[in-house]
Amino acid sequence: MRYSGKKAIKMISRPLFKQSIKANWMLWLVVTLAMSLLACVMNFAISKVMSMENVEVSDETKGQFMQYAGALEYYNAVNGTSLTSEGFLAAFMGMMGVDMTSLKSLKDIDTATMMNSMYYTLAGLMLPMIYVIITGNKLIAGQVDKGSMAYVLSTPTKRSSVALTQGLFLLASTFAMEAVCAAVDFGSAFILTDMSSTDISQKLILNLGSFLTIAAIGGICYLASCLFDLSKHSIAMGGGLSVFFYLCSVLGMFGTETFVNMGMGTSSLNILNKITILSLFDAEGICTIGTDAVSYDFIWKFAILIGITAVAYMIGARRFCKKDLPL
């Protein structure tokens, strides 16, 4: 085992890894800082939402409601009708064109959960996605297109070692990015909110989910970078697919149960969730941890994400080792 470990380390080209760090640290830093800031703002917002949810219904509100209820009862007693306050409300809302059932589910929505799922599966993915699209292209296709790869391959550096080094760099840099963001996320959440052990495990898994999703997107970008000799083609595939998945995910949100129940979407849009790999990051499922209705479906979805990543990296690296390079 020790031998194979050494061999793997030898397969990594140190100067190439250094070069990749030098060429990409700036973008990495900018994205990581922006993401950290975003995490802080989100935690601040969630702390506000949580304090709002804990508001007690005031006596004044109760008194007002009792007055209306009394008025209805008085009317019933005089006219022999059996009108209820619920019926009144339904009729009132109906006149305004609002469905009572959706109004009820609106009350059931956990705002914090929804914000979490929006943040982790959509808003928080955008910037790291841009990072992997740009960097993924730059690591292989960009250098083949420019011709600078010639300086690497005219030294005794194996192609497989180039593929492995660049793949490792992409994976490691996204991991470092997500790790820093997770640390900031935890830090700010500890300061701003009261975290229960459930919250902690949820947050941990949500951050892991972010990393796995970005790793899969990164895998696709890496694959595109290995397949094509021209930057524009590599970006078209890597960036194009990523943006497509993202758009499906945004529109697909209006097809999710939560949004449909709120009356803010239609289930026909749910088909988009079936074609985007971003939906494999099941934030809502993860947020059931610690509740009675806990669903562990998110685990096999994670497994698929890992599978996509592994396959994309493997095919990409193999292709790069075998193809013609115009250097």
Binding site: Q19, K22, K146, G147, S148, V152, L153, S154, R159, P326
Partner: protein, 304 residues
């Protein structure tokens, strides 16, 4: 050192290289000339193991250039035809990084090269002029002291003085016993350096010439101009091999074997000669002759 055997690589629209066979011997400088798009770079990419041949093979030190390219790269240095550096800020950083790739620890030779080429490597790579970039690429390639040099148009962007410095460098490398494969479209530098020259056109090898034969060509061509028509006509009547004549100037071109030069001069004593000059037999003449022999009239004009 480098053996190319029936190398074929086809691209769309009939482009590519076809049935190229070459043999580059240890310690020689081998020139590879041809127009843009004739297939020089494609051939070189095969030597470097960047491209997989459709058929045929390239052997470098007896190793298959596609299958064993990494092993081969221990012995081969390369200057690409297109200069594009990695995303590194300055020339110094680039050279240091390249040294790490090559396992070069002692930078003495690199510094000597830098001095010789009058390069300022501390400049930012992106703001370097074409010539500066080329010099940086030359230093990066030569600093490891590898025994085979593969150079794709290495003098692009260099001014005439630097080109001369480069040629001196190349000859120095040859003295050290290096084998050099160099493509170019500038005949002069090929003439000044090479031992053998291969000409490629439209992906096919036209000719491999021995520069010695060209340098010491035993057929000489003289251009002779006479003062008057009388002498001119009299000269023409003699038994010389006249290749070209311009009666309006009383000019004639004579092809003559080296051994007969004295005969020519003694004959000319009796004529009033305005001037006589030797037309140097060079690579260009040689290749044009080949095209002419092939009888392909279009090629003659478009060759270079």
């Amino acid at each position: 050192m480098i053996r190319i055997e029936d190398l074929t690589k086809g691209y769309k629209e009939g482009r590519g290289i076809f049935d190229i066979s070459l043999d580059v011997k240890k310690g020689e400088i081998f020139g590879y000339v041809g127009t843009n798009g004739s297939g020089k770079t494609t051939t070189i990419r095969h030597i470097m193991g960047f491209l997989r041949p459709d058929s045929g093979q390239v052997l470098v030190k007896g190793m298959d250039s596609w299958k064993q390219s990494t092993e081969i790269m221990k012995y081969v240095a390369y200057i690409p035809g297109e200069i594009a550096f990695p995303d590194i800020r300055t020339g110094t950083e680039f050279l240091r990084s390249q040294a790490e790739f090559l396992g070069v620890k002692d930078m003495t030779y690199a510094n000597r090269l830098i001095e010789k080429l009058q390069l300022d490597p501390s400049a930012v790579l992106k703001s370097m002029s074409k010539g500066m970039k080329q010099k940086t690429a030359i230093v990066a390639a030569l600093m490891a002291g590898k025994e085979i040099l593969v150079l794709d148009e290495p003098t692009t962007g260099l001014d005439p003085l630097m080109r001369q410095a480069f040629i001196e460098l190349i000859l120095e490398e040859k003295k050290k016993g290096r084998t050099i494969f160099m493509s170019s479209h500038i005949f002069e530098e090929i003439e000044d350096t090479c031992d053998h020259v291969a000409l490629i056109k439209d992906g096919r090898l036209v000719e491999v010439a021995d520069m010695n034969d060209i340098r010491h060509h035993d057929m000489k061509t003289y251009k002779i101009e006479f003062f008057d028509d009388q002498d001119y006509m009299a000269f023409k009547a003699l038994d010389f091999h006249i290749t070209d004549e311009r009666p309006q100037y009383f000019q004639a071109r004579v092809n003559i074997d080296d051994t007969d030069v004295n005969h020519l001069f003694s004959v000319l004593k009796g004529f009033k000669v305005k001037f006589i000059s030797e037309i140097k037999y060079d690579l260009e003449t040689y290749f044009n002759e080949i095209f002419r022999k092939e009888g392909n009239k279009n090629d003659k004009q478009t060759a270079f």
